[in-house]
């Protein structure tokens, strides 16, 4: 009967109830979006880093992977040292460079990765075959489109340019063996990958056996942080950045969004609370006569409190469910905006739906709705019956 009375009371003033529920829904949507934002970037980036099973990156000391043009010399020697550690089961050396070609006399630039195809973790093959020999490469669809090429075509790529001679340097003719999707690149960026030695030769890094970064895969259950510390101590020209450390650095760089999400999330909760408490208070004020009569005929304080709390809960619950749908829509919109950050890997989402976090946030909103009903419920239950009846009769 109490639930029935609570819902009937809300139905009695439909537009008021709908408006309040809409307000709570927007607060819920914003809260959900902020929860998705606060955890989404980290989770999404973490998923990206571990997508290919590599737990560590080794960039030149003092830098982050591909943050600068610095390189690490003596890649072969370093790989041999790393393989001595039994917990390390794979080491993928990667060299990054910019390569150029022309199409209809217009320059086409692409990001090039020199890799070891047997252990690489930078791309996934979509068609054709991998670049296993020194005269082949794989390219992404953006490069093929920009250069007007298809699988099987041969192309001359250059890694440098001599301004005195006005000529490209470090050229090599390569056959497009396969098409791949590059995992860590931003949307629309043309890219190619070829065997490491090929790119080293083209970019003048062959003598130094230089690479830009190593990716390291460890045995399942291995203590990644301990291995990182061993690498830092043993190989002074590299830093060992575990996934956890990389995430911490990302957190630092994107801390603004986390803080913004916390502040806006808190504001949403407060607004949802205020709206519910205002609606329920007004609803109680409207019905003081009825409530006094109910108390006069023997309805207990607890019943009155339950009924008022149920009204607040119903508004919050309805708003939270509506807000869930609305929040998912607005999150997609906001994610589209933030995903256009230049240089951001296409696979990164700022707004990631994590069920547990989302339900916790919405649960908090519903709880705040219940709490919002406490003050008006207490007021309703504390009405002096006789005086209220007298005042209502006069009114």
């Amino acid at each position: 009967m109490r639930l029935f009375l609570a819902l009937a009371s809300l139905r009695r003033h439909r537009s008021r109830t709908m408006l309040a529920t809409a307000g709570v829904a927007i607060a819920a949507a914003l809260l959900l979006d902020m929860v998705m934002l606060s955890g989404g970037m980290r989770a999404s980036f973490g998923n990206l880093l571990t997508a290919q099973g590599f737990q560590m990156r080794l960039p030149p000391r003092g830098t982050l992977p591909f943050d600068t043009e610095a390189t690490i010399d003596g890649a072969g020697e370093i790989i041999a040292m790393l393989r001595q550690k039994s917990e390390i089961i794979a080491v993928s050396p990667v060299l990054g460079a910019t390569v150029r070609t022309t199409r209809d006399e217009h320059p086409v630039t692409a990001f090039a990765l020199g890799i070891d195809p047997s252990v690489q973790g930078d791309y996934r093959m979509e068609s054709g075959r991998d670049a296993t020999d020194s005269s082949s490469l794989v390219a992404n669809v953006e490069f093929l489109h920009a250069a007007g090429l298809q699988l099987g075509d041969t192309i001359t790529l250059a890694a440098g340019y001599n301004p005195q001679l006005r000529a490209f340097t470090g050229t090599r003719a390569l056959t497009i063996a396969g098409r791949a999707r590059f995992i860590y690149l931003s949307t629309g960026q043309p890219a190619v990958a070829m065997p490491l030695r090929s790119l080293q030769a083209m970019s003048g890094h062959l003598k130094d056996d230089a690479v830009s970064v190593f990716m390291v895969r460890t045995r399942p259950g291995a203590d990644v942080e301990a291995i990182a510390r061993w690498i830092q101590g043993t190989i002074p020209r590299v830093d060992a950045v575990s996934t956890a450390q990389a995430l911490a650095k990302v957190d630092e760089r994107l801390s603004y969004f986390r803080q913004l999400s916390f502040i806006l999330g808190a504001v949403s909760l407060i607004v949802g609370f205020l709206l519910t408490t205002t609606l329920v208070t007004v609803s109680v004020n409207d019905r003081v006569g009825e409530i006094a009569v109910m108390r006069a005929i023997g309805v207990s304080r607890a019943h009155v409190v339950h009924q008022v709390l149920l009204e607040g809960t119903a508004i919050s619950l309805g708003g939270a469910l509506l807000g869930l749908a609305l929040g998912l829509v607005t999150a997609r919109w906001l994610n589209t905006i933030l995903s256009s950050f230049p240089g951001l890997p296409a696979a990164i989402d700022f707004f990631l739906f994590q069920p547990r976090a989302a339900w916790t946030a919405l649960g908090l909103l519903v709880l705040s709705g219940i709490a919002a009903g406490i003050y008006p419920a207490w007021r309703a239950a504390s009405l002096p019956v006789a005086r209220t009846l007298r005042e209502e009769a006069v009114a």
């Binding site: 009569v293 005929i297 023997g298 309805v299 304080r301």
Partner: protein, 239 residues
């Protein structure tokens, strides 16, 4: 409808030197000033007097809606002022029925649901409640209006529903504050007839009224002025 009347029983209501004061801008207003009265089981008592004489306040004290500033009120042998709020509320639910001038039905409930409300609060099971609702609505001659909302009922019909609601838990005592105050003369007559029938069937009734016709229908009339009883006359003895 209620417990059978037995002559010689202890009074259902016993008030001794009851006072009720209200603070008003620093001064005390003495709404009830030392009233003593007994109401026997089965009586039909009307309390009359000019506006502001304290009759409604006295009714509220008898109904345990209000607490006396002094003196004692005993209802069915119990002193409500010694009870906690929860106990008093429960006491009202089980022993006292109220009828108000402005009916005070829940507009969101149907006639049947309004009558059912006190029984639901008491914890009666659904079947029992529904059966009693049918019985009560038939008694007040509104069996065909069970599903109607208060806004769909006339004033007289609303008051009859309110009376049925007041009788829901078979109270020891039925209290009515100006029950015909918002009704036209003809409808008021119907309500008066209903009260008479209730009393004949054994219900103890105390009404507060300005309505002479209602007062004459009672067996005993208590006249109040300025917070005290000035005259207490028995029109007809309890049969």
């Amino acid at each position: 409808m209620t417990k059978p009347l037995i002559a010689g029983d202890a009074p259902i209501v016993s008030a001794r030197d009851v006072r009720r004061d209200y603070p008003l801008e620093g001064e005390a207003v003495h709404a009830v000033r030392g009233v003593s009265l007994d109401v026997e089981r089965g009586e039909y008592v009307a309390i009359v007097g000019p506006s502001g004489c304290g009759k409604s306040t006295l009714l509220n004290l008898i109904g345990a809606i209000d607490t006396p500033s002094g003196g004692t009120v005993s209802i069915a042998g119990r002193d409500p002022s010694a009870m906690s709020d929860r106990e008093v509320t429960r006491f009202r639910l089980e022993h006292i029925g109220f009828v108000f001038q402005r009916f005070y039905l829940m507009p969101i409930l149907s006639a049947a649901e309004n009558v059912e409300l006190p029984m639901a609060e008491r914890g009666l099971d659904k079947q029992e409640r529904r059966a009693r609702v049918r019985e009560l609505l038939a008694y007040v001659e509104l069996a065909g209006r069970a599903r109607h909302r208060p806004t769909q009922l006339s004033g007289g019909e609303q008051q009859r529903v309110a009376i049925a609601r007041a009788l829901a838990n078979s109270p020891d005592l039925l209290l009515a504050d100006e029950p015909t105050g918002e009704l036209d003369a003809r409808t008021g007559t119907d309500i008066i007839a209903l009260f008479e029938r209730l009393n004949r069937d054994g219900t103890t009734i105390v009404v507060v009224t300005h309505d002479e016709q209602l007062a004459r229908a009672a067996r005993r009339v208590i006249h109040m002025r300025d917070g005290i009883i000035v005259h207490d006359e028995v029109l007809r003895a309890i049969a």
